[in-house]
Amino acid sequence: MTHIAKPRVRHPGLATNRLGLTRRDYEGGMSTLCAGCGHDSITAAIVQAFWEMDIEPHKVVKTSGIGCSGKTPAYFLKEAHGFNAVHGRMPSITTGAHAANRELVCIGVSGDGDSLSIGMGQFAHVVRRNVDMLYVLENNGVYGLTKGQFSASADRGSKAKRGQVSREHPIDPVLLALSLGAGFVARSFSGDKEQLVPILKAGLRHRGFALVDVISPCVTFNDHHGSTKSYEYTRDHVNALVHADFVPPAEEIETTYEAGDARTVVMHDGSRIQFRKVPADYDPRDRDRVYAYVRERQRAGEVATGLLHLEPPGRPGSETDFHGIHGTADAPLAHCSFEELCPGATTLEEIQRAFR
């Protein structure tokens, strides 16, 4: 037998969530990525996060651009709405979907090439607009789909599979997002679901733009000695700086931490992010300190991971999400009647008169 799909048969002891669904119900089609690709692992983490959050799959919009990463929405949430945009244009498609129906949960998956090369402008503006979405950047340092050319996130001095050395400055999506004003900035590693899943959950709950930059080794073109995005290199250099637990509104926080050791950010809906093992002089709410800290770790040769920055509600950048900025109706536009959306020539006349 060749090329079988993952059979539907499942473990009879699998837990169900509040919707009565198992994790398997959040899967999508069979991946066609290379065996061992970090992207597949992120897909599994996304499946886990949506399942744990009890989100109804058909209330989700999944979007992507082009690349191996761009293919992944096909591999999760088969019942969700989806759009595979042209290269680098996932942000505008997601913006449109979110503008039309603010009730849907938006997740966009992109690659380092898709976001930091051809789609850099779109990336910057979706951050600025603070579109309420989870933006997952599957970062492998190469253009995987086109056979492994260096991408804009490739570290200076890192080596390609055939030995060429990357000479240009890398773009770090975390620093970029911090400087563009993103209210939720995280970095994680595809090989560490214990860290990644809670971050994805928090990002889904965050109102506004949430970036999760995930180091995601390309086994085929960027997992060799000399690469700085390989499984081994990442494991050796990761500094899991910030541990963040996502606590839904109803649940009590059971553990107590010594003062200074834990920081809690209460989100708009009452759910909390509980930070643990944060360095004493680190405050995830302080954008400038976070920026400095990530840079500092970088200079020390480390990759700082965790939910690095979270702007608590009430501070600029958190309440002013896309719909807030534009003062749109509370009801999703998609559900408004034709008359409401196109009130007719007389109304138009009135509006125009107001501008005269």
């Binding site: 037998m1 060749t2 090329h3 079988i4 993952k6 059979p7 539907r8 048969v9 499942r10 473990h11 009879p12 002891g13 699998l14 398997r24 991946s31 290379c34 065996a35 061992g36 690709c37 970090g38 597949d40 692992s41 897909t43 599994a44 595809s190 090989g191 679901k193 080794p217 086994v219 997992d223 499984y231 081994e232 494991r235």
Partner: protein
């Protein structure tokens, strides 16, 4: 730092037992028949090969393909996935029914004998297996059988509507035609006499020939209407009993009772009732035997405990029962409470409440020890009694079992007899072995059919109810047709296609964990077993199933754990592994037999004659 003493040790997959246990059916089969391989051979149209592979371990594939107690089926992994085992037993019948002549591939018997003579008492499956294993080694085997024909209970008690004579005689002949010296109509009435003869060893395979009595009031008042089940079945087979009364009560609800009631249905019984003391969950009969009896409109009455035979004017007219209720007493033991009584009219009663061994012909002063229950003391490993050179197996050794156990006892006893005759130790059993062979054919291609088939178990077709009652020898089961057998073979999960793991190759990418449809796999830090069991990807449902624990993984020092319980052997973990740390390897269990090292064959013995053309290549 936590002590690592209690941490789990890496699994030693070089020990054949680990992978053997994963093949649930083969592990559950007393003779360890290579079930997945014989099923694949059937899938491939290689019926003769499949038959020969079966015969190597179970000697009577045609007989067993119809009658085996099939301990392999309840433990089949498929049960734990969709509730229904693969029809392992009836597929064996397919191989048997569709095979070509296998005689050319049976072991050749040396013309020159090795000078050793072995006596066997009884010609049931146990003795026949001893002969089957020893004849190719040059032994002279003499079988003494009380009756006119060999076969034991397979002949005298298993009715022909379940086991046609032609199937029985053909497979018995494969053994007797090896040149066994068959002394039929020769009851042994003194073991001492045999021991006084020129035999180098004796095997006692005389079965458990005594049906249990029910000594309650009235038992002996109309003896011609009350029968012991196994004796009655024997009389039917011998043609001594051709009819029975219209109203028949069968006492007991084991497999013998099922054969009795169904036989009565064919001899004129119009109102046949099986009387059970307990309730259905406690019935001794196999579920499928119960189903077959019910299909034939036999009535089974629960909670009836016989209290007396009702005899009027020397004629049995009925039987009185206590109506009982059961409740769980101390320590979960069932206690009965009588709540009434009832007389059920009948013309005949058949007692099917168990069998005992009987050894009136074994002198008690010849060194064979008997225990308090008058059972001979037999070593569970060597099958030797307390008198050296006298071995015992089958139902004779520890009471009634079934054919496949009798066969396995025969194999083990033959190993012991061979060692004994060569002056070797009996305790040091010959080692089992295992070959592991990669099944990879290409990127996404395996030698076996690895996709999970959701099909339900094939249903056996039965001869029409009315027609089957016309004669005793109409086989009820029609066997699977080609379509059914081709569908059923796909339900087999190929549990011998083992997931073989090399820790040093793993880069901990999680691909295998994520793809596994049954969530068998976990990468986690090591710890004590109870603690580790809490951290598995999916909950541990059957802790008795094996866990695989790897060596420490190179990058993080964590371990790979696999709960073997529900693995469907789809190979997706191996397909998605970038470094081939997982591979699918067929585990080929190599069993030793008398005079053969693990996996060995006798001169002339062939399993894969490559006679049958392969139907079509897979894919």
């Amino acid at each position: 730092m936590e002590s690592t003493d209690s941490f789990m040790k890496p699994t030693d997959t070089r020990d054949p037992r680990h992978y053997h246990r994963v093949v649930d059916c083969q592990w559950g089969c007393p003779a360890h028949t290579d079930i997945p391989e014989y099923i694949r051979l059937i899938a491939n149209g290689q019926y003769t090969e499949s038959y020969l592979l079966n015969r190597k371990s179970n000697v009577f594939p045609g007989i067993l393909g119809r009658t085996c107690d099939r301990p392999c089926e309840p433990v089949c992994r498929r049960v734990r996935l969709d509730g229904e085992p693969v029809a392992i037993c009836r597929l064996k019948r397919v191989a048997s029914d569709l095979r070509d002549d296998v005689r050319p591939f049976l072991p050749s018997i040396p013309a020159e004998k090795n000078g050793k003579r072995i006596a066997c008492v009884g010609a049931g499956p146990a003795s026949l297996t001893v002969a089957n294993d020893l004849m190719p080694l040059g032994y002279e085997v003499v079988i003494f059988e009380k009756l006119a024909k060999p076969g034991g209970l397979m002949w005298t008690n298993i009715p022909e509507f379940r086991l046609p004579g032609q199937v029985l005689w053909e497979e018995i002949a494969y053994v007797t035609d090896m040149g066994v010296d068959m002394r039929l109509d020769s009851p042994v009435d003194s073991l001492a006499d045999i021991l006084g003869g020129d035999f180098d060893a004796v095997f006692v395979g005389s079965g458990a020939p005594k049906g249990k009595e029910l000594d309650i009031p009235g038992r002996w008042d109309a003896p011609q209407q009350v029968h012991i089940g196994i004796e009655w079945l024997e009389s039917v087979r011998f043609g001594h009993v051709e009819r029975c009364g219209e109203r028949v009560l069968v006492i007991g609800v084991g497999n013998t009772a099922m054969d009795c009631c169904r036989t009565a249905q064919r001899l004129g019984g119009k109102d046949v009732k099986v009387m059970a003391r307990k309730t259905k969950p406690y019935f001794k009969a196999s579920p499928w035997e119960l189903d077959d009896a019910m299909e034939e409109r036999v009535e089974i009455l629960e909670n009836h405990s016989p209290s007396r035979f009702v005899v009027e004017d020397g004629k049995l007219v009925g039987m009185e029962f206590d109506l009982v209720r059961w409740r769980e007493g101390e320590g979960g033991r069932l206690r009965s409470e009588t709540v009434g009584s009832k007389v059920i009219p009948c013309d005949e009663v058949i007692l099917a409440i168990g069998q005992d061994t009987a050894f009136p012909w074994i002198e008690r002063d010849i060194g064979i020890e008997f225990n308090d229950w008058d059972m001979p003391v037999v070593d569970k490993t060597t099958f030797m009694t307390t008198r050296s050179g006298v071995f015992m197996g089958g139902d004779a050794a520890w009471g009634p079992e079934n054919i496949i156990w009798a066969v396995e006892h025969g194999h083990q006893a033959a190993i012991s007899i061979h060692a004994y005759c060569n002056g070797e130790s009996l305790e040091a059993r010959p080692a089992e072995g295992m070959n592991l062979i990669s099944q990879k054919m290409g990127l996404h291609e395996w030698t076996y059919s690895n996709d999970y088939d959701e099909a339900q178990r094939a249903k056996m077709r039965h001869v029409d109810l009315k027609k089957r009652f016309e004669r005793m020898d109409i086989e009820v089961e029609e066997g699977f047709d080609i379509e059914q057998s081709l569908a059923e073979v796909e339900r087999c999960l190929n549990c011998d296609a083992q997931t073989h793991f090399e820790a040093n190759l793993c880069i901990e990418c999680d691909a295998c964990i994520d793809i596994c449809p049954l969530d068998c796999l976990t990468i986690t830090h090591n710890g004590p077993e109870e603690d580790l069991a809490q951290r598995l990807t999916a909950p541990l449902l059957h802790p008795e199933e094996p866990l695989f624990v790897s060596e420490d993984l190179p990058q993080t020092g964590r371990i790979m754990v696999k709960d073997e319980d529900l693995c469907i052997h789809c190979g997706l973990c191996a397909e998605r592994c970038p470094t081939a740390a997982w591979d699918m390897r067929k585990s080929d269990l190599l069993l030793p037999y008398a005079g053969l090292e693990a996996g060995g064959l006798h001169a002339g013995q062939v399993v894969y004659p490559e006679l049958a053309p392969t139907l079509e290549s897979t894919g």
